[in-house]
Every structure is written in structure tokens, then in C-alpha cells.
């Protein structure tokens, strides 16, 4: 029987490293996805995702289960990513390079070359449009789109109300829609 996140957290609080490893294995890709969506750079995203779990390990004894483990871990990840983004204003082209890498991997299975060109343009423009959003707007988009979290959970992670989450999400989607309407 698979242990719940909370069971693993409690074992981890008693010093069981294997339980912490299990938590990392459950969430490392999801955390990486959110952070990559915010930072647009693979190396930075990997660094921040690993730092997220390190910080979680350091603070795990103070985690009392008031919220779910994934809400807690996303909060650490988003805060670190936003800090990182504010500290280092990176070249926005880096995200396009990241997206190109994914496209190359996907081209192998693409059948229609015209559709492929269209997809490439769409993805590049999506990357550019996302990069123009503020970190807070990016965060709501990533948490909602990738994880399908509720507005309440996103509010807990970002430390804001459900109303704020709703308005940020609406604004961010409107921006993306305006920039991409020609390709959709």
C-alpha cells in the first residue's frame, strides 16, 4: 500500500531519509515544470528545483500539515523562482532555445510538415508572450495549467486571495489570447 504524502512527511520528520527521497521522486518533475515555466531556462530551473527540495528538507520539521505537502513545496519553489527571476534578468531568447529543444524532439513524430511549421511559430510566440508577463501572472498560469490547482490552493501558495488569483488568471489569459489569436 502506497503511503500518503503526510505519512512520508512524518517519517521524514523522524529522520527517515528514504521517505524524503520518495517525496522528491513524486514531485521533482512537477516542481521542475512550474519552475521552468517561470524561469524559461533549463539550467536555472534545475538549480531552483533542487534548491526547493533542499529547503524543504531543512524545514520539514516545522511542517505541521496545515496545508498539503504539494502546496507547501510549490510555495517554496515559486518563491525561489520569483526571487531568482528578479535577481537575474536573463536573456528572453533562452526560453525560445528551450522550446526549440522540445520542438526538435517532437518533430521526429510530426507527420504534417505544414502543421509542424505552424506549431513551431505558435510555440515561439507563446514563449514570447509568457515571457512578457510579470512573475505573479506567470505563476498563476503555471500552477493552474500544469497542476490544475484550485484558485484556493493557488491563493495559499502565492499568499493572496482567491479573487486576486481569479483576476490575475483572467488578465494573463487575455494577454496570451491577444498575442496568439493569429495562430490559434
Amino acid at each position: 500500500m502506497e503511503l500518503s504524502d503526510w505519512d512520508l512527511v512524518q517519517k521524514c520528520q523522524s529522520g527517515d531519509m528514504a521517505s524524503f527521497q520518495e517525496l522528491v521522486s513524486r514531485y521533482h518533475q512537477k516542481v521542475y515544470m512550474v519552475v521552468l515555466g517561470l524561469l524559461h531556462n533549463r539550467d536555472d530551473a534545475l538549480e531552483v528545483a533542487q534548491e526547493t527540495f533542499f529547503r524543504a528538507y531543512r524545514k520539514i520539521r516545522s511542517f505541521e500539515g496545515g496545508s498539503s505537502f504539494y502546496t507547501w513545496i510549490y510555495r517554496i519553489a515559486v518563491n525561489l523562482a520569483i526571487d531568482q527571476q528578479r535577481r537575474q534578468k536573463r536573456n528572453p531568447l533562452e526560453f525560445r532555445e528551450t522550446m526549440d529543444g522540445v520542438l526538435e524532439a517532437q518533430e521526429e513524430t510530426a507527420r504534417d510538415p505544414f502543421a509542424d511549421v505552424h506549431d513551431r511559430e505558435l510555440r515561439e510566440n507563446l514563449a514570447r508572450a509568457i515571457n512578457e508577463l510579470t512573475p505573479e501572472h506567470k505563476a498563476v498560469i503555471m500552477l493552474r495549467t500544469i497542476e490544475g490547482l484550485s484558485y484556493k490552493e493557488i491563493g495559499e501558495i502565492l499568499g493572496c486571495s482567491e479573487g486576486t488569483v481569479m483576476s490575475r488568471l483572467h488578465y494573463a489569459r487575455k494577454k496570451l489570447q491577444d498575442k496568439l489569436s493569429a495562430f490559434l
Partner: protein
Amino acid sequence: MRDCESIRESIGRWLDGELDTAESESIRAHLASCEECRKAQQQLESIDQILKTTLLAEAQQIEFLPFWRGVQVRIAQKTPWHEQALEGLRATFTLSRAAWLVPAGIAVVLAILSLDSYIPGLREGRNSFASVESIDAYGRNVALLRENESKTTVIWLYEDQEEENATADEPAKSAPAF
């Protein structure tokens, strides 16, 4: 009937499942009859879908073991030595792992309590809380037991059994031989 602008404001929340049943029904009914709003809905769904598949494809390239090793290196490098030592102690003395301490503790206490049975004379001289003083007064044996803490004195009169025995033996020795 709601207008298109109001509907488009709510499409995102509808897709996210954040509207109540009545509102959801109102959106669904409008979309069934309005092509423009349906297009807006499809655009939002496409954006979400592309974003998700793109990032998912990236995340799937992240293998667990190298990632975990990176976390372990951070834990080893960034944790101060005293925290690491404390962590080691905690890991050793967790409730489940420290169960051996209970019988071990009992064994140690029992061993200390029974030390004097193995080492004779260990406790001699330690009874300083009381003293016994023997006085030979008026031909009687008197002993004073003084207990220092409660300032109690017990006067103990006793007969010297050896002397008595010796006295008892004497007449036999001096008895005339018949």
C-alpha cells in the same frame, strides 16, 4: 441572456471548474449558440494544452537519480556540521530506533543497585548519616545511635553475650570435681 463580453470574462473560470452549476449551465447554453465565444473557448484550451505538453515534455527528460544526487549534494554541502551531527543523533535516537534504550537503562540501574553484592565493602563508610557509639557504663553495655539529619538519638542497652557465656563457663571450670 448574458452578452458575449460577460461570457468571455467567465470562460476561463468555467474551464477551471470554478463556477457554480447555474453559471456553468448559462455558459454552456451560450457557447452552444455563439460561434465567436466558442472560438474564444477553444483558444484558451489550446493555450493551456500547448503549454502543458511543452513543459511536460521538458520535465520528462529530468531523470530522478541525477536530480536526487543534486539534492543530496546540497544537503551535504550546505548543512552546517553541527546540524549534520544533530541530524545523525536524531536519526539514531528516534522512537523506533531507540527502543533498545529502555531495557538497557533498566539493566544499568539494576547493575548499579547490585554493585555492593559483587564488591564487598563498597558501601562501608558511606553511612555517615548515623553513628553508633558504645559506652560501658556502670558495668552495663550502652550504645548510642545518633542519626545526624533528624537529630535522633537511640539509647540501646544490651548484654554482652560473649561475656555472659564466659561467665557461665567459669563456674563449670571452677566447679569442684566430684
